[in-house]
Symmetry: C2
Subunit: 306 residues, 2 copies
């Protein structure tokens, strides 16, 4: 089996390294960071943190160097989905299936413009890039996948991918309907990411500080109302994820806070922006998610002026 | 006539310098910044910008050096009102009247714990401290004063203060009910200050950028609903102040953005916090003002951690 990981940063790197240990799987990593690609090809992809190992991976900045693959795993930031899948689509054919493990909502819709079978994925493992070729594996967790409804991806493909990922050490559950898992994480992210990014508070501090902890609650209430109107049954109350994250050791900075500190465009359009958009579609007001979206867009706008 | 200006920063400095030019008024400035006090006593208080002049003022860090005054003008940041009036109260007697020209709501209540007659004031001039002894006079405008209702300050005192301020070049209007002017500015400030502080956008940019401009509108709607429930007739639509500010030349940074950049505690409790509190008192929901309050409190909290 051949698998192409598209975007081999923190989350993509965790997937690629695990898959790279399976003797019956060839892993190809497509990434735009030339120094990262060079380091991976020179010395393998190193993970440290929750697990410590180095896996031999073939990495490239040029999808033309990758053979036809059975599966794709897209792990770029949402704002780069379009460019990444446009470049990498040539790697897949009518029998391949491509799975998003990205944050937010709206990535599957983009991928489906380029490949036949798309898989809706939600993953909880998290990490950060330590240096080129070296990913910090901060948080372990499960991955949930299901068909992206409009592409009617066969369950047989989903089950094969889930078994392969689980064998590699990334426990993955294949579901007929994975929207509940995705929306649970979406609502969690749309509450915790902008508040972390705007205040500079790490996740645990923002959860425990009453004003921001109550703002998490209010944002989650709006997201749950939209999910309910869409007929999506959440996996669990997103507050459980908030509490679980707050109990984790160390000071975890939300990915959007990491983006803001590095002055990188954030994923807010795919988080709060997606909740606002879906809320409009089903007539559920989301003034607080809209406010978070507006503040993050304003912050990004301010960077253009300096 | 003797007038004590309490807090001789940007706004206090503009008042003190103007009053200092009147031959029949003795002006005393109480400020906690020793270098600023020294510079004022050495070379006078210098204004530049909208007007250029230097006025001879007596300044001190010790209220015991100030004789009994007829009027007080409190121009500290709201978070310093309590400490400042507690120290300076000895300057006033049962015939004196003390006027707040501060931002936000809630300052008069604090001042009234220390002096008999309190005046509710709202002022539009703005500036910034350039260096000790030197204030930049950025924006000219009127001042509106009225009795602080619980102290029943006689209109005769208000009129005398208004005439004196107007003669000095600070046009001041005495009103029977000055709550409309104060709430107009309060609602304007509670919209523009946190959004500027959280995004880093100057006032004009935040007004013109559609996401933040629409957030201004939504915040103003909440504030207007609270004012209406309180029976306060606003002087004008706070959006007029937003538009007027956006047309001003240069890039004006909201005072809360200046505070955040300097990592100074902000006045958010007296702005969005006051609107939330009054909203609770009259049963008007203010979720967006509460969210802005929570984010600014979270931002202040994050400074304690670094």
């Amino acid at each position: 089996m051949k698998i192409c990981v598209i975007g081999c940063g923190a989350v993509g790197g965790i997937f690629a390294a695990h898959l790279g240990r399976l003797p019956d799987v060839e892993v190809y990593a497509y990434d735009v960071a030339a120094d990262h690609v060079r380091a991976i090809n020179d010395a393998g992809l190193r993970l440290s943190g929750a697990e410590e190992f180095t896996a031999p991976i073939r990495a490239t900045t040029d999808p033309a160097e990758i053979p036809r693959c059975d599966y794709g795993i897209v792990a770029t930031k949402s704002i780069h989905t379009e460019a990444a899948i446009a470049a990498a689509a040539r790697v897949f054919d009518r029998a391949s299936a491509v799975c998003s493990v990205q944050n937010g909502a709206g990535n599957e819709e983009i991928i489906a413009r380029y490949v036949r079978y798309v898989i809706r994925g939600t993953t909880f493992p998290a990490g950060h890039l330590i240096e080129p070729g070296h990913v910090g594996y901060d948080i372990q967790g499960d991955t949930w996948i299901g068909p992206f409804e409009p592409t009617a991806t066969p369950m047989q493909l989903l089950r094969e991918l889930a078994v392969t990922l689980s064998r590699s050490g990334m426990n993955t559950i294949a579901l007929e309907d994975a929207r509940g898992a995705q929306w649970t994480k979406l609502i969690f992210n749309a509450a915790t990411n902008p508040v972390g990014a705007l205040t500079g508070l790490d996740h645990g501090s923002a959860t425990r500080f009453p004003p921001t902890g109550e703002l998490f609650d209010a944002l989650i209430d709006e997201g749950c109302a939209v999910a309910q109107a869409l007929g999506i049954r959440l996996d669990q109350d997103p507050r459980v994820l908030v509490e679980k994250g707050a109990r984790a050791p160390g000071r975890h900075r939300a990915s959007m806070l990491q983006d803001v500190l590095a002055r990188r465009q954030t994923e807010v359009d795919f988080m709060n922006g997606a909740i606002v958009q879906w809320g409009e579609n089903v007539g559920v007001p989301t003034p607080l998610n809209r406010a978070m979206w507006a503040l993050i867009k304003g912050l990004e706008e301010s960077w253009k002026q300096k």
